[in-house]
């Protein structure tokens, strides 16, 4: 790790923390969402600098899409999306602050108290190949489980979020064609 990397790591680390703190300080929901995006994108940058370019860039890619979708929901559900009216949406701030401060102190103490072992082995020539091989060989079970979890999430989330079923679309006898949909759609189903 040379000087450039260290400087970049420091800058990204400070930005990630600052973005994280701003999430709970700012009023405007749009700004909150994009503060979180800055924080997570900087985390992705840190991961890239640590020799995992694939995971780092994919994290950035995913976070951008996720945060934009998040912004849409924020604006849809929050009472004060632009932060133009001052209002507080907090509860038990003191307790939460105490819990997280104690946890942070404990973690920091642990980090500096543990005698970390030295580096075992050398980094592979291409960390992306290492990850791909692991997911398709040794960690295949992990990959299968993650895939099933994602599939069930897609189905579960769609079922929870939609209010209309096939009887709403196709009528009581499921024979109405074309279906009655609020939005037309492109392939004429």
């Amino acid at each position: 790790m040379d000087t450039t990397d260290t400087v970049l790591l420091t800058v990204l680390g400070v930005l990630a923390l600052a973005g994280g703190v701003l999430v709970f300080v700012l009023d405007s929901m749009a700004r909150v969402t994009f503060a979180l995006l800055v924080s997570l994108a900087c985390s992705g940058g840190v991961v890239t600098l640590l020799g995992l370019p694939y995971l780092g860039v994919v994290t950035v890619l995913m976070m951008v899409m996720e945060m934009v979708i998040m912004a849409v929901f924020m604006i849809a559900y929050m009472m004060n999306p632009a932060g133009l009216m001052p209002m507080s949406m907090l509860h038990n701030t003191r307790g939460a602050l105490a819990v997280s401060a104690v946890l942070f102190a404990a973690l920091t103490t642990g980090i500096f108290a543990v005698p970390w072992p030295g580096r075992e082995g050398r980094p592979p020539r291409d960390s992306t190949v290492q990850l791909g091989t692991a997911l398709m060989e040794g960690q295949m079970l992990t990959m299968v489980v993650l895939g099933l979890v994602l599939l069930s999430t897609m189905v579960g989330a769609t079922v929870l979020a939609t209010q209309r079923g096939r009887y709403d679309r196709f009528g009581d006898d499921l024979d109405r064609r074309p279906a009655r949909d609020p939005v037309g759609g492109g392939v004429g189903r």
């Binding site: 985390s43 991961v47 939460a96 602050l97 942070f104």
Partner: protein, 101 residues
């Protein structure tokens, strides 16, 4: 020293997220706190991979699992919020007490 400082960064992100998840009322804001906590886990896993065991892929697999956890948390969170809001116009955790023991 870089290793320890990176872990402190991860701990900082995790605890900031925890504070948010505990103190915010709005379900969407709670989810942002959880995202931040998982972001901390990603940083920690990458640091462990780089500084302790770069020859094994386990650190990378933890990052993948964390990223998947983020996606699942977002999708299910918004689905539950949408279902709640649709049936009762509720968008804060304090008003959704069905599972309170």
């Amino acid at each position: 020293m870089t290793f320890e400082l990176l872990l402190v960064l991860a701990a900082g992100l995790f605890c900031t997220g925890l504070f948010g998840a505990l103190s915010q009322q709005s379900i969407v804001m709670i989810m942002m706190g959880i995202e931040l906590m998982i972001g901390g886990i990603i940083v920690a896993a990458a640091a462990f991979w780089h500084f302790l065991a770069p020859a094994a892929a386990s650190g990378q697999v933890v990052v993948v699992a964390a990223v998947v956890a983020m996606a699942v948390e977002m999708a299910m969170g918004f689905a539950v919020t949408t279902a709640l809001y649709r049936s009762r116009r509720v968008d804060t955790a304090d008003l959704a007490r069905d599972l309170r023991g």
